[in-house]
C-alpha cells in the first residue's frame, strides 16, 4: 500500500514536469534561428575570410543544416523572454560567464593535481551524489564541469525513479554524507545550470 502510493506520487510528479516542459517549449522558428546563429558564427571563425561570396554561401548552407538539425542544441533550454533577449543573453552573458568560471577552475585543479603528484597525499574513493537536473544536455554539461573541477572525476550516471545520480571518483574523500558531498563537489555550478536547462 505504502509503496503503491509512493509510485503513484512519482508518476504524477513526472507527468507534471513533462506537461510543463510541453507547454513551455520554444517555437520552431526560434529554434532554427538560434541554431543558425551558432552555426554561422562557427563557419565565420573556421573559414576565416570575410568575402561576401563566402558569407552568402555560409549563410545558405547553415540555414539548410539548421532547419533539420534544430532539435539538437535547443531541445533542453528553459524559455525566457523574446528571441533577441535569448540570443543576447546566450552570446554576451551565459557563455562568457561559464567560460570564465571554468577557466579559473581548470587552472586551480591543475595546480592541485601537481601538488598531489609531488606530495602523494591521496585518499581516493567513489561517492554517489544526487542532482536536480533532468535533461540530457544539462546532465552532460554538469558531468563535464565536475570532471574539470579540482579532485573529482565522473564515473557513471544512473537514472532511477525519476531522480538522477552521479558516481564520482574523488581523489581526497572528505565526507560520505550525500548532501554535504554534493555541496562540496557541485558547488555553485548546478544552481547556475538550473537557470538555463531543464
Amino acid at each position: 500500500m505504502h509503496f503503491y502510493l509512493k509510485e503513484r506520487l512519482e508518476d504524477i510528479r513526472r507527468r507534471v514536469l513533462y506537461e510543463q516542459y510541453k507547454t513551455q517549449r520554444i517555437p520552431t522558428w526560434e529554434k532554427i534561428l538560434l541554431t543558425w546563429i551558432v552555426l554561422f558564427l562557427f563557419w565565420l571563425i573556421v573559414s576565416g575570410n570575410s568575402h561576401p561570396a563566402n558569407l552568402i554561401t555560409g549563410a545558405v548552407i547553415t540555414l539548410i543544416i539548421s532547419s533539420f538539425m534544430r532539435d539538437m542544441l535547443t531541445k533542453d533550454i528553459r524559455p525566457k523572454g523574446s528571441i533577441f533577449q535569448k540570443a543576447l543573453y546566450f552570446l554576451l552573458i551565459y557563455t562568457p560567464q561559464l567560460a570564465i568560471i571554468m577557466m579559473f577552475r581548470i587552472l586551480e585543479s591543475s595546480i592541485k593535481v601537481a601538488r598531489n603528484v609531488i606530495l602523494m597525499d591521496i585518499n581516493p574513493g567513489i561517492v554517489k551524489i544526487k542532482t536536480d537536473l533532468n535533461s540530457d544536455t544539462g546532465i552532460t554539461v554538469l558531468a563535464n564541469s565536475i570532471t574539470l573541477t579540482p579532485g573529482t572525476l565522473t564515473l557513471d550516471v544512473k537514472k532511477k525513479l525519476g531522480e538522477t545520480y552521479l558516481y564520482v571518483h574523488w581523489i581526497d574523500v572528505e565526507t560520505l554524507n550525500r548532501e554535504k558531498a554534493g555541496e562540496k563537489i557541485k558547488g555553485d555550478i548546478e544552481e547556475w545550470l538550473k537557470r538555463i536547462f531543464w
Binding site: S110, T147, H169
Partner: protein, 104 residues
C-alpha cells in the same frame, strides 16, 4: 610579457601531468592527472599562442575554438575510459566504493 608567463605555466603543468601518469597507483587516479593537467596545460598554451600570433583577429579566434573543443572532448574521453575500465573489471584502490554497492 603575460604570454611567456602563460607558456611557461602550461609547460610546467604538462610536465607534472606526465609525472602524475607515472606515479599514481591505479587507472582512475592516473586519469585525474591525464585529464586535468592536459586540459589546463593545452588551454594555457593555446591562449599564449593566440596572443603571440601575428595575424588578424578572425584567425586568432581559431585558437579559442580549439581550446573550447579540447575542454569539451577531454572530460568525455576520460569518463569513457574510466567507465570502460570499471566494466572490464579493474578494481580501484579506494577507501569507499559506492559504485560496487549498487552494481554487485
Amino acid at each position: 610579457m603575460i604570454e611567456y608567463l602563460l607558456l611557461t605555466f602550461g609547460e610546467v603543468i604538462m610536465i607534472f601531468g606526465a609525472l602524475g601518469i607515472l606515479r599514481f597507483p591505479d587507472v582512475y587516479t592516473r586519469l585525474h592527472a591525464a585529464t586535468k593537467c592536459d586540459t589546463g596545460g593545452a588551454m594555457t598554451i593555446l591562449m599564449a599562442l593566440a596572443i603571440i600570433a601575428n595575424a588578424p583577429t578572425l584567425i586568432k579566434l581559431k585558437f579559442l575554438v580549439l581550446a573550447f573543443l579540447i575542454a569539451l572532448i577531454n572530460p568525455m574521453v576520460s569518463h569513457a575510459i574510466a567507465r570502460g575500465a570499471y566494466k572490464y573489471g579493474i578494481k580501484p584502490k579506494v577507501v569507499v566504493d559506492m559504485y560496487a554497492w549498487d552494481n554487485p
